[in-house]
Amino acid sequence: MEVKVRPLDCWDDFKKYRKKYYENYLEAKDKGGIRWAGSAWAFDPVPHGLGEDVYSLTGEPYGATCAFFQDFSRECLENIERQGVARDLCGYMRNYWGSIVLDKYLLADGTLVEPFPKPDFNFTIHICCSHAKWYHFAAELEGGIPTYAVDISVGPGYMLDDKKIEYVVRQLKDAIPWMEKITGREYNDELLIKAVYAEADAMSTWAKICKLNQAKPAPLEEKSMFSLYVLNLINRGDPEVAKLYYKLYDEVESRVKRGIGALTYEQFRFLTDNPPPWAFLKVYRYLEKEYAAVSLGAIYTFGLGGGWIGMDEKGEKWIWEPAPTPEEAGVEITNRDEALRWTAEYNLRYRASWQHEYSHWIRKQETYQMVKDWKADAMIMHLNRGCELWNMSTLEVRDYLVKNHVPTATYEGNMADPRDFDEARTFNVIDSFMQSLGIEKIS
């Protein structure tokens, strides 16, 4: 069937926001503001309490931007390897370090600026084997930037208890005086509370948007989602971000009502799992053009930026329903303790990407349920050499999907190291997969 298509109206708003984000970090000092760097998973609302002129640089999205601009990426990777850094480490991290060593800073549009703007402090979390050590080494490369990492490795949401939440909250509490000391600023709890509300709104709204993509035809395809979900990874504590997601929700909802799709012709619906090889998004374009195949999303794009109910309390079934915001939960946040407690619990419990690394089973359920709920015909997995965490369990999941009659293909690559990607081999996988399923090329 022919499908009506039209570009997203709020596309430019998202592009603009992201562009400004990287500029703000660069120019922060001219305005007497504060810079901090950390993982996209760091508790972003917390530094917001230092003032309204506090600007962050989150490492993974920055690494992805580097990777997208292949030539700069190669330069980063080769330079950091010359420092004796191993090749198989996190791809984002190596781009980030390389950028520091080259003393070049990359803006969203690919413009390079010198020098690399140093943060006043690093504030991150530790959940995979790299996060805290990433910023530990970055701090050493930058000559000793104060660094604080919050250990959040307390297990999946459905197994949370007060002791575990307390463990995280207490680390967050200590972080505040630590930040005050470094920045010489007085911490403002009102700003923290505002940011905590904003975070939940933004993440739960993104989840609602993702759900709209269950419609046939799918109103969004994953390639554009990459530019949309990212705001939740760079500055979700900013109420502006939540507002943009409301706007996007309304537009996507109306697209669904009017049967507007992402592709002119939707022959095949598939899901992915890992971060994509950023330098080779042509993989998605190829599937669209040659096979009218739409990528509906991934536990990556959905799970990273979204708040979801996730595993049921028995740990048997994954529930792809948006997580409640404070209002929806009937909670009122009035002080620092409540705010920290909320953001800790919300993230630990509902951030999908923090759940599936505590067992193959969770990731199997999460993925399988997504295939069902989004009415996908198949799964195309990226065996991502660039990320131990995201690539964990992938082959077990593949085995599980195949046994449950979900056609599954895998291709090898690296989200942020172009040297690990073999184009010919990848397209060969895709063609073989489609042919074996009897899906004809449309061109």
Partner: protein
């Protein structure tokens, strides 16, 4: 109708000519030169000669293999996976697990009782180059290829070797040579290492009898022996036709 299946591989180009009743009229297998188009022409010419046919007798051409784009006049193209599956199903209908080992690429295809492809796996980055690894090793050992397979059967012990990377395995072979290990042991070590790596691809789709081995390396009795040991099950090789011709055959069948 007469169909020619053309498999342009990285090392060899094969052609198989079939008629409606799926009888093989002719075939060829020549080294792939730098000029793929020229190679393809030669391969077709040779196959036609064997079949005692001319170009005009061919109704359809089907291309497969890594260089399939070098067959501009092909009526259709199919991937190696489908070619291997179809070819294998024809020469060995009870084959459920088809393992193809070529010079650069190895793949495993799960074929259903209906001949449809149920699942497949291609070599990961680090598992590539099995076939050409053998060439290099034959050069080091200075034994003819036929010998190379046979002597591995005479090995008394198996020397464990890094099985994940051909290049690294190669360095180890050199070390073994210099440590004056007997050639049979070294040959066995090499075959085991390749079998180990190829098996790791095959296991991804699951080992289900019959296991059929195709592609150039299926001519190497040392390799077949190692595969049997590695998989702990019988491993078959096509009897009707040379194992490296199966994908070209599969390509031809696709149009019949």
């Amino acid at each position: 109708m007469t169909v020619a299946g053309i498999d342009v591989g990285s090392k060899f180009t094969k052609v198989v000519i079939l008629n409606d009743s799926k009888e093989i009229l002719g075939y060829s297998n020549i080294r792939t030169g730098i000029d793929h188009h020229k190679t393809v022409e030669e391969a077709i010419k040779e196959a036609l000669k064997k079949a005692d046919l001319t170009r005009d007798d061919i109704n359809k051409y089907v291309a497969t293999g890594f260089g399939k784009i070098s067959v501009p006049f092909a009526d259709s193209e199919i991937t190696q996976v489908v070619a291997a599956g179809k070819g294998a199903y024809f020469v060995w209908p009870t084959a459920r697990t088809v393992i193809e080992v070529g010079a650069e690429e190895s793949r495993a295809v799960k074929v259903g009782e209906d001949g449809n492809i149920k699942d497949f796996a291609l070599a990961d980055k680090c598992a590539a180059g099995a076939g050409s690894f053998v060439d290099a090793m034959v050069r080091y050992l200075e034994v003819p290829l036929e010998e190379f397979g046979r002597i591995s059967l005479e090995a008394k012990e198996s020397v464990p070797m890094n099985a994940q990377c051909v290049i690294f395995a190669e360095s180890e072979v050199v070390s073994l040579l210099h440590a004056n290990y007997p050639k049979p042991e070294i040959s066995r070590a090499i075959h085991d290492a390749i079998a180990d790596r190829v098996a790791s691809i095959a296991r991804r789709v699951g080992i289900e009898d019959d296991v059929l081995l195709i592609g150039g390396l299926a001519n190497d009795i040392g390799f077949i022996d190692s595969m049997k040991r590695e998989l702990g099950t019988e491993v078959y090789v096509p009897d009707k036709i040379a194992p490296e011709l199966v994908p070209a055959l599969g390509a031809a069948i696709a149009e019949l």
